[in-house]
Amino acid sequence: MVGGLFLLAMVGATVLAALAAGDPFQPSETILRSPSRLHPLGTDELGRDILSRILSGAATTLKIAIVPPAVAAAVGTLVGLLAGYYGGLLDEVLLKLMEFTLVVPRFLIALVAAAFFGGHLWLVGLVLAATFWPSTARLVRAETISLREREFVAASRSLGASDGWILSRHLLLLVAPVVAVNSSFQAGQAALIEAGLAFLGVGDRNVVSWGAMLADAQSYLQVGWWTSVFPGIALASMVLALNLLGDGLADTWNVRGREAARG
């Protein structure tokens, strides 16, 4: 649960930053200045304040870490419930699709898409959501299959419950923990993928990205350690927090952890 608290702090900091911090794009004369009172985390090679940039980058990371996994959770849960409950053609198609998305790594798809179509944040988000949901659906499907033959389902049905009622009132609540755990790990992955793309120079240039900050820092490792260390700590702690959240949720609800949720 430490992860959850940390995340809340991150969100809080981001909101504060939006209200208070300096302009993350504002260049100045004071380039590559080590941390000081004016610039608590130093400045980069264009004299931009690193603290402002980290806070502004947090917004980027949070967007990409929250929206695609949330979309994937919604779509994946719906498809997984239906495929698991009814089986049939939908199930077949889902399994094939799942196999397909596993064959081509999502980072490669995102890389090719970002390089060819321009790496707008929403495009990266779209690729992530599109490649995340099949794995969510597969997990939900497996859960649903093991749940649908249980006695409470039969009991509910004998009381006259419709399929829609059983799916939305019983099964949805029971698969929710698996989805939540899976989404936390996907959020961590999403943050890493966005940063990785920005690091390779195919990210969104209109927003501040921790990955792009690290790419800029690569040339100044020798003269300005702070240009790499602080954005890196920010990114690593964000991912760590999301993974801790996933682990915490998995322990709380007794869900099989990351190994099952990966992919």
């Binding site: 064959v103 081509v104 490669l108 690091f199 990955g211 690290l214 820092a217 990114l235 990351r258 190994e259």
Partner: protein, 322 residues
């Protein structure tokens, strides 16, 4: 139901794998055709090139043919080992990929070996000392290794070992003066291999720990202890073989990803492997090389999945009877 013979099972997996590969290739082509920008324009060098020249390029590369025809032709050729010609590199795609293969295999192989060795060892120790300080420390290490962005970790390692301590080179595969032999390559390999192995190691530690913890409470482990087997023997001879299945799943699951999955690590360390080639061909719009790499990557994933099934059978003879 009569269980399939192994040959039938293998054949079925091969066929479904080939179908999957054909689908991946088709998807790659659709993606590449859907991208903005025109291959012929890129090759002609400038916008506003002579239309006749553009038409010639299109005919040469069969870009004027319908997409399904292009896909079919590509599949037929690649089945014969011909992946096409990279006009940008000025040589066949097979040579472009082949030239990088050794470097990639060296990096990926070393990273795999390190990850498997360290991961299984730490996982076994953690399960053995479950709940203790050692277990907690190993958990923290694997969580960190799982969460650190590889490219940042690479930067930190360069900053420490290359820039500050001057122990290891910051990048490349050989020294620029060409003096070095095997030792020189190993010197250059150390940092990227460690960086690449960490994530995989973290995953292996976790699955090994979980599987070993489950195996260690089984009756056959108590039986082994009861007849006086030493603790290392119980761990390694009795519990470990039964805990390896999830480890095989993780390892083979990453086998296909690691050649092209090393894009970030190879970029940070300027390692001349396939990941770097992939990145360069994405930027240069070198679509034949890109398609070749995606096909190679998908082939590896499919092959790794089949390998996993074979290994499951080898590890657990009961699987064959089901």
């Amino acid at each position: 139901m009569r269980p399939d013979s192994f040959a039938v099972f293998l054949l079925r997996r091969l066929v479904s794998g080939l179908v999957l590969l054909a689908m991946v290739t088709a998807a790659t082509f659709v993606l590449i055709t859907a991208t903005p920008g025109d291959t012929a324009q890129v090759l002609a060098g400038q916008a506003g090139a002579d239309p006749a020249y553009l038409a010639l390029i299109r005919r040469r590369l069969q870009l004027d043919r319908p997409l399904p025809y292009q896909i079919a032709a590509y599949l037929r050729q690649s089945a014969q080992g011909d992946l096409g010609f990279s006009v940008i590199q000025g040589r066949p795609v097979r040579d472009a990929i082949g030239g990088r293969l050794l470097a990639s295999l060296l990096l990926a192989g070393t990273a795999f070996f390190l990850a498997a060795l360290l991961g299984v060892t730490l996982g076994v120790i953690a399960a053995h000392r479950r709940g203790g300080v050692v277990d907690a420390a190993i958990s923290v290490i694997s969580l960190l290794a799982y969460s650190l962005p590889v490219f940042w970790l690479g930067q930190l390692l360069i900053a420490l070992f290359a820039v500050r301590l001057h122990w290891l080179p910051a990048g490349g595969m050989r020294s620029a003066d060409g003096s070095g032999g095997f030792g020189d390559v190993v010197h250059h390999l150390a940092l990227p291999a460690v960086t690449l192995s960490l994530l995989l190691m973290a995953l292996i530690v976790r699955v090994t720990r979980t599987a070993m913890s489950e195996a260690l409470v089984e009756d056959y482990v108590s039986a082994a202890r009861a007849k006086g087997a030493s603790e290392p023997r119980v761990l390694i001879r009795h519990a470990l073989p039964n805990a390896l299945r999830p480890v095989v799943t993780v390892l083979t699951g990453y086998l296909g990803l690691i050649l092209t999955g090393a894009v970030l690590v190879e970029t940070v360390f300027v390692w001349p492997g396939l990941g770097r080639l992939l990145y360069d061909s994405v930027l240069a719009r070198d679509t034949p090389v890109l398609a070749g790499l995606l096909l190679l990557s998908a082939t590896l994933v499919v092959a790794a999945n089949i390998l996993a099934d074979v290994l499951y059978r080898a590890l657990d003879p009961r699987t064959a009877l089901r």
